[in-house]
């Protein structure tokens, strides 16, 4: 037993007795105690004292939930959590659009779409959802600017009109979710862009598309991209991961039931370990993930939004590398196949 070891371990004995050592330190202490009677004696004594703390009531009233509930009891939320990512992206895009001079509305942004066409497109898809939630005035068959704001038509509605109509409908959509309250509405299935999905997922889809198009415009104007707040990015990424494992299992039936770990780094990231394939497919044994893919959470979202090339997005794979490659290819194609963001297809009536 070296002197350094002894001093190091002796210094750790209080933390060790309280169970406050990280695993590696705890292992060092345990190993040292076997051969050091002096440390063993002190460790026993301190453990006994620490054990006596168990007689004290641990009045932990400051849990996360308690703090949030106490605040919300004094001022109820006006924007429900399920609609918050969408509402935040709408406000951001609205601010961005408000700052654009009218001539910029004709600027080509992405896939040959102008800003005006993009806003009309967002308005139309929002209307598809809003109409199913019985939002007054929402009519996907006749969205604002339909048939008038088409490419090159010139005589479309004024930018201010487009923006106001889009924003008012978005506010009405958020309000419909708020007044419904509870989860019944959020679980209700709706049709959106060829998919049947619950309202809560549809709201995230709208948030995602609104964000990506906002960044499309920022990119065209050479303004810094503006990632969603971490708490919103997290729920968007989580929904994206679920969508992806589902689609990958459907696209490659041979992978169905195999488990993959998706580790997204950065603010708003997280790690998800899920079986590939439609929800409810039992994971195949062994439960250990067949592959792990690590990438930046923003890069992952841009990939899902069809804004990254799967061959160029930086990632690290362990385990079944081929599965990871196929997964990323499916991710990049999701936008085209399922109209997550839209780019060239799914244009509103009169824009085709």
């Amino acid at each position: 037993v070296s002197v350094t070891d002894h001093q190091y371990v002796a210094g750790l004995l209080g933390a060790w007795a309280l169970g406050a050592c990280p695993p590696r330190d705890a292992a060092v202490v345990t190993a040292h105690l076997a051969g050091c009677p002096a440390c063993r004696a002190e460790a026993t004594r301190l453990r006994r004292a620490a054990g006596l703390l168990g007689t004290q009531p641990a009045h932990r009233h400051g849990s996360r939930q308690a703090v949030l509930r106490a605040a919300l009891a004094r001022r109820p939320a006006a924007i429900p959590a399920a609609a918050a990512p969408y509402a935040a992206q709408v406000r951001r895009l609205d601010e961005l659009l408000a700052s654009l001079p009218p001539r910029d509305w004709d600027r080509a942004v992405v896939h040959g779409w102008s800003v005006a066409e993009m806003v009309a497109h967002l308005h139309w898809l929002d209307a598809v959802l809003a109409a199913q939630l019985a939002v007054a005035g929402a009519d996907p068959a006749d969205p604002a600017g339909s048939g008038r704001a088409g490419p090159g038509s010139g005589g479309g509605p004024a930018p201010e009109e487009l923006r106001t109509a889009w924003r008012a409908q978005a506010a009405a959509l958020v309000d419909a979710v708020r007044t419904a309250g509870g989860t019944a509405l959020l679980d209700q299935p709706v049709e959106l862009a060829g998919q049947t999905l619950p309202v809560r997922a549809a709201l995230l889809q709208r948030a995602f598309e609104t964000w990506i198009h906002g960044d499309d415009i920022r990119l065209a104007l050479t303004v810094q991209p503006f990632p969603p707040a971490p708490e919103h990015l997290f729920v968007l990424a989580a929904a994206g991961v679920r969508l992806l494992v589902h689609a990958a299992g459907v696209r490659y039936p041979a992978y169905a039931g195999r488990t993959v770990e998706v580790a997204l780094s950065g603010d708003g990231g997280g790690t998800w370990t899920l079986p590939l394939g439609p929800a409810g497919v039992p994971p195949r044994a062994p439960a250990r993930a067949a592959a792990t893919v690590r990438l930046d959470v923003l890069e992952f979202c841009y990939l899902l939004g069809g804004r990254r090339d799967p061959d160029r997005v930086p990632y690290r794979a362990t385990g079944d590398r081929r599965l990871v490659r196929d997964l990323l290819t499916v991710a990049a194609a999701l936008d085209r196949d399922q109209e997550i963001v839209g780019g060239g297809r799914g244009v509103p009536p009169g824009h085709g």
Partner: protein
């Protein structure tokens, strides 16, 4: 547009403030997740009492939710603002606590208050003596032990919350426990009943 965006110093914080003003509950949750360690650590250092620190955490986040307009991102960061609120609330607590102690020295024969009387009625004599012994520890050692034992933090996290070097956190835990053992052994208490 570029100039406008760049002129806002903390666009993310300005947005968080707007979301709080609008009543977006996910903004409150996001604020809590990001700043709770800072608010708790500062409150614990100023009050020297983990339970008071929890109360301060609750007050600070409630205040931010009730009056988000009071935060002005042009005048400083959100972290600084929350730090100011936390410090103010913590000092309030320390003053109340000092006033309470003064009143008790003058008038109240029982130093523990009525809530404690109920606890004491059910708690064993051992638990009561442990409580007294813990209360007798120097505040810095008591807080470190409370964070490690009751909050389940590692000594590294204790160091982080208290804003002290890891070595200091380790020695506070060790010295505190040694003193606790000494106090309890002197009373003949060496094991739980």
């Amino acid at each position: 547009v570029q100039q406008q965006v760049q002129s806002v110093q903390h666009p993310a914080e300005e947005e968080l403030r707007l979301r709080l003003v609008e009543g977006d509950e996910t903004a409150l949750a996001g604020l809590y997740d990001r700043f709770r360690p800072m608010v708790y650590g500062l409150a614990a250092r100023v009050t020297g009492d983990w339970s008071a620190a929890e109360d301060v955490v609750q007050e600070v986040f409630a205040e931010m939710w009730l009056r988000p307009e009071a935060f002005d991102p042009r005048r400083g960061s959100l972290r600084t603002w929350l730090g100011t609120l936390t410090h103010r609330r913590s000092v309030d607590w320390v003053r109340r606590e000092e006033a309470r102690r003064r009143r008790q020295r003058v008038a109240v024969p029982d130093p523990r208050g009525s809530a404690d009387l109920e606890d004491r009625a059910v708690a064993s004599a051992v638990a009561e003596r442990v409580r007294v012994a813990v209360a007798a520890l120097p505040a810095a050692q008591r807080l470190a032990i409370q964070l490690a034992y009751f909050e389940g933090r590692t000594y590294r996290q204790v160091a982080e919350v208290l804003g002290v070097p890891e070595g200091t956190a380790k020695s506070r835990l060790r010295l505190g426990l040694q003193r606790l053992a000494l106090l309890l052994e002197a009373e003949g208490i060496t094991s739980c009943p």
